[in-house]
Each structure stands twice: as C-alpha cells, then as structure tokens.
Amino acid sequence: MSLHSTPRLRPPRHRVDPLARRWWAVQALLTVSGPMLLTALALGLLSALFFPGALPWLAPLLLVTLVAPALGYLLLMPRRRCATHAWELGTHAVYAAGGWIWQRRRIAPLSQVQTVDTLRGPIQRRYGLATLTVTTASTAGAVEIAGLAEADAEELSRLIGRAASDARTAPTGLAAPVGGIGEAAPGGAA
C-alpha cells in the first residue's frame, strides 16, 4: 500500500512540554484512577470486615474491573499522550495532533482563525502549563494544543494572532474567508 508518490502527513514538529506527562498523570489520578482505586479499597475493606466469606470471589472481581483498568489508565494514558500530542505552526496553517486511543490530527488555515484562547487549569498552573485553543467559524474546526509551557503558549498565541490577521488581510488565494463564494471551483480532480 505504501506508494512513495502518495502524499503523507508527517507528525507536527514540536512535542508538548515534558511536564505535561506529570500533569496528565495527576489528572488521571484525580478524575478516574483515584476514585476507582478508592472504591475498590472501600469495597475490599468492607467485605473483609463484615463478609469475609465473599472475599474469594470479590477480590478477583475488584482486581479485574477496578484495579487493573485504573492502574492501566494511570500508567498508559500519560505516556501515550506524550507520544502523540504535538503541534506546529506552518506558514499558512496551524497543526495539532492529540488523543491516545483515538488519535486525531487537525489542521486549520490561519485565514480561518477567529480567536485564540489560552486556558490554565488549577493543576496545569502548578506545572506551569497551558492549553491553547484556536477557534474557527466551525465547532469541528477548533485546534486544541494541550500541555504547552506557559511562556510557549503566550508566544504561540501572539504568533498565531499576528499570522491570522496577516493571512486575512493578504489572502493566499487558496483559503477564502468564511462563507466565501469568490473562489473559482477547481475542476473535478478526484
């Protein structure tokens, strides 16, 4: 299947900040893994104290349904996210890759950028991180870059803002503004 002539996307150039892995781990612990482990612990303790007879079947059940998924999520998710999450600002477009099980790569032209939002959550702030969201007129076109260092996020947001306003005032001829009908339709090039 790998024809050398077919165009392929390369991964974005810039990786997320190394601290992002810790941020994702803390997030996993607080939202998913922690509650699951605590539930397993509470059920196990209650059973050991009041219904010792149930332990032989309850313990394996808890291990399989709660403990193993919680630990798997806690160990795998941050590592996989660090491997896939990346971003790049090109001359005409902004590009971000994300996700861990379901992965996605999204590219939006700078001429379509409407706003650039920077978000710092409480855990993110502790690690000096920020999430940058570049919105377009379509909700399916918002590019999200998670786990940037705060300084990088600020710099990137400034760069994108400037590039977007440049792209809008001097259109490249390829990307028409929202709702643009001026563009001549390219002939059927399937």
Binding site: L9, P109, T136, L174, V178, G179, A190
Partner: protein
Amino acid sequence: MSRHADAWRRPAARTLLVHCGWLAPPLGSLALAVLATGGRIPPGALITLAALAVSFAVVTAAGLIRWSRTRYRLTTDAFALRSGVFSRRQRTVPLPRVRNVDLTATPLHRLLGLTVVRAGTTATDGELGEITLNAVTVREAHRLKTALLARAGARAASDDVVLGRLDWRWLRYAPLTFWVFGGVGVAAGTAYRILDGIGVDLWRVTLVQDAVAELGDRALWLTVPAAVVAVTALGSLGALAVYAENWWGYRAAWTGPGTLTVRRGLLTTRSITIERSRLHGVLLREPLLLRAAGGASVTAVAGGLGDEEESHARGALLPPAPRPEALRVLAGALRAPSDLLDSVPLVPHPRAALRRRAMRGLWFAVLPATLALLALGASLTPALLHAAWIHALVATAATALLARDAHRSLGHALHGSHLLVRAGTFSRDTLALERSGIIAWTFSTSPFGRRHGLVTLTAAVAAGEHGYHIRDVAAGDAVALAMAARPGIVEDFLEPPGRPERSPG
C-alpha cells in the same frame, strides 16, 4: 418602507396573551381531574389551583414588564433590538449581516394573528448570532422580512423558481419514517403520566382490569399479533398526522437569485429563508425503511440556522418523498444538474472497513445477548439455551447483511465544486458539500484503523452539523483526498517525498 421606519417599536401587545399559553396544560389536566372524579374537586387540586394563581400573577407581571421594556427598530441599514429587565441589552445587526429570516407561528400565535421573527446573522452560530422578536403581527413580520432581506436579493414572489411543492401521494412515506412504535410508546407514557397526575390509577379502573384479565385468558398467539397490528395502525396514524402537521402547504423556492425559502406547517407555520452564500451543501437522507420503499428526504447544510438540532429542523428542504423528486430538489438547491448524485461513481472504501462494521455488529449485537441468554439458560431453564443459539445465528446473519450494505454505502468523490460523501445503513446519508465551504481538516484514527490502514477524515464547515465525516478512507488516500477537495490546508505538513513509510501510531 413607511415613513415611521426609523422609530422604535414595541412587539404586538397581544404577545402578552401568548405568554399565558403555559396555563393550558395544568388547567386542562385539572378540568380532567374534576371530570374524572365526578365534579368533586380533589383536595390536592385546590393546592395546585392556588399555586397556579400565584404563578399566573408572577408570570404575567414579568411578561408585562418584559414586553414594556422591549423595543425594536429597523433603519435603512440596521436592525436593533432592546430588551432586558434588570440588565438592558441592545443588539444591533447591520442589514448586510442578516443571512436568513424565519417566521414561525405556533397555533396560539396564529389564533392571535402573531408571528415570531428570527433573524440569523453571519456570526458564529449560537445565541449571539441571532435576533429573535416574539412576537409581531403577521403584516409587520412580512414587512420586516422583506426589509431585512432586501440586501440578500429577495424579490417579489412572482418570479420564484419553485423547487418543490407538496404532493399528497407522498403521505405513503410517512409511516416509514416516524418512529412508529416509539411514538405510540411515548404517547402512551404521556397519557399515563397525565392520568397519574390527576389521581387516576389506571390499574384500579375495573374496565382496564377486566380487559387485561380477558386478554390473559385468551390464547397468546392471537392477542400478541393483534396488539402488534393495533400499535402499528395507531403509530401509522400518528405518523400521518405529524407529517401533515409539519408539511402542510409545503413549498420550496428560490425567491430571487440569492435566497431559498421553505414554507410549511399546518398548525405551526414556518417560513425559513436561507441565503445562497450560507448554503454550503445538501444532505440526502435515506433511512432503511424509506430506502426500501424508494423514498428519501433532503436537508440543507446551511449556516446561521442555530445549533445542530435546530439546524436540522430548520434546514429541512423536502419531506420524505420519492427518490427522483428528492434528487431534483437537491440538484435545484445546489443549482447542479439533476443527475448529480447518481451519475458520479463513488470511490469505494477498503475491505478493512467492511471488517470493522462486521466486528462492531458482533461485539454490540450478537455477543452480549447471546452470552446473557447462555448464562440465564445454564442457571434457569434449558429452553433459553435454544434461544441463545437461535439468536446467535439470526443476529450473525443480520450483522453480515447490514455490514455488507454499510460497506457498499461507503463512498466519496469529487465532482465539480462539490465533495460527495455517502455512508450509513440504518440511515444512508449522501452529502454534497461545497468544497469552498470547508475550513479545516481532521484525520482521526482508532486502534483498529491504525492496524488496518483506515482513517476517518472530517471536514469542518461553518454550517449544519459543523463536522462532516468521510469514514474509513484508506490511510494512503486520505491526505490526497483532503488536498484535492480543499487545497491550501494540509500542504505545509507533508512528509518529504521519497521517504519510506513510517510505522503507524
């Protein structure tokens, strides 16, 4: 335009009566309760009545204040609305920004000769992008609509290009679309809740008790089919009624060069206007049953119609109708030749996509029920074991058929200025999307897709559902397709040519 055009105006005073409409259901159920108990007002009802009186006073006062604080103004270049009781807000929309105007009138509005005017703008969809004026007189509404759309090129109705008119023979498609059994279920549930609310316990009524006992005594092989037939008939009647209510007096037409207008509705009338430059595509929907009967419906992919759900309701261009008619309306809306969809061969998707669909069916339809039946059979009665293998066989066969159909549905093509995408088996949807309307690309992969070389490509559009998927394209073709369909987006980020393929993921 009249010489008072620049003055601030108030919504029609009769609007205050519309705000009393919420009284109808509680008063109705109260009246029913009184009837059911034979004229004696149950003690619970007195409390309800008192609560009603209090809330009536509060709501009416609030409505009066809100009405007296609302003003609108239409000048030669802008439409403005002042509203708000505690925090005053004035929203001004320059007329060139108005992209569509909807007139909607519920039965209550129509009784009072009123209409709700909603003007959608070029701003991002959502509440900020629109102005809603509830309500003005019908004449005033039409005056506003004409003035608001003057820039968009709306003209007198005499030279309309009509796309479609209602044909009553289409009614035969109604039972194939409405959720027949579900509709009856919902209606029955609502009726039961109302009866329960007014204190009638259905199971205590002797008539019902007798009927249930009677049915239980008779042979099940008679009563069950009879019940199915009755429910189907009831549901079909309901579907016919819904179809007629929604599509009475349906007419879709290009009113002038730049605006598409759809009028419909029996009790609630709707008039929806879409501007040409905001119409980014058209969707042909063929749900399974409708497709079997050779029918289809058409929805516009247009911006400024509200959120996803509203956009779907407001974007309807054609009710379930014969497929050739649907193709004609679709082509008319796109201003393309009418054989647009059927003349273009679609590129099929890889066989791995078929395997993915079959696996999905096995995981979600075959395995869970079979395992449950096996477990129950092992612990309760051997009869369920037979049910388990029968279910496994039947469900596997059905899965295989549906997966094959789903895979055959999959396809995409570029044709002129449009991107054609088809997918789905329970609802086979064919999308004709204007390529210039695409504003971003997303490539998503699942673990299965990464192993078998499948990518789902999503085109972001500022219209309709916003994201339109081209599911399970061959990984090697996805980037080329994105580049061909909408150049100028992905070019910055391509692998240098001649580099050996990287391992996926």
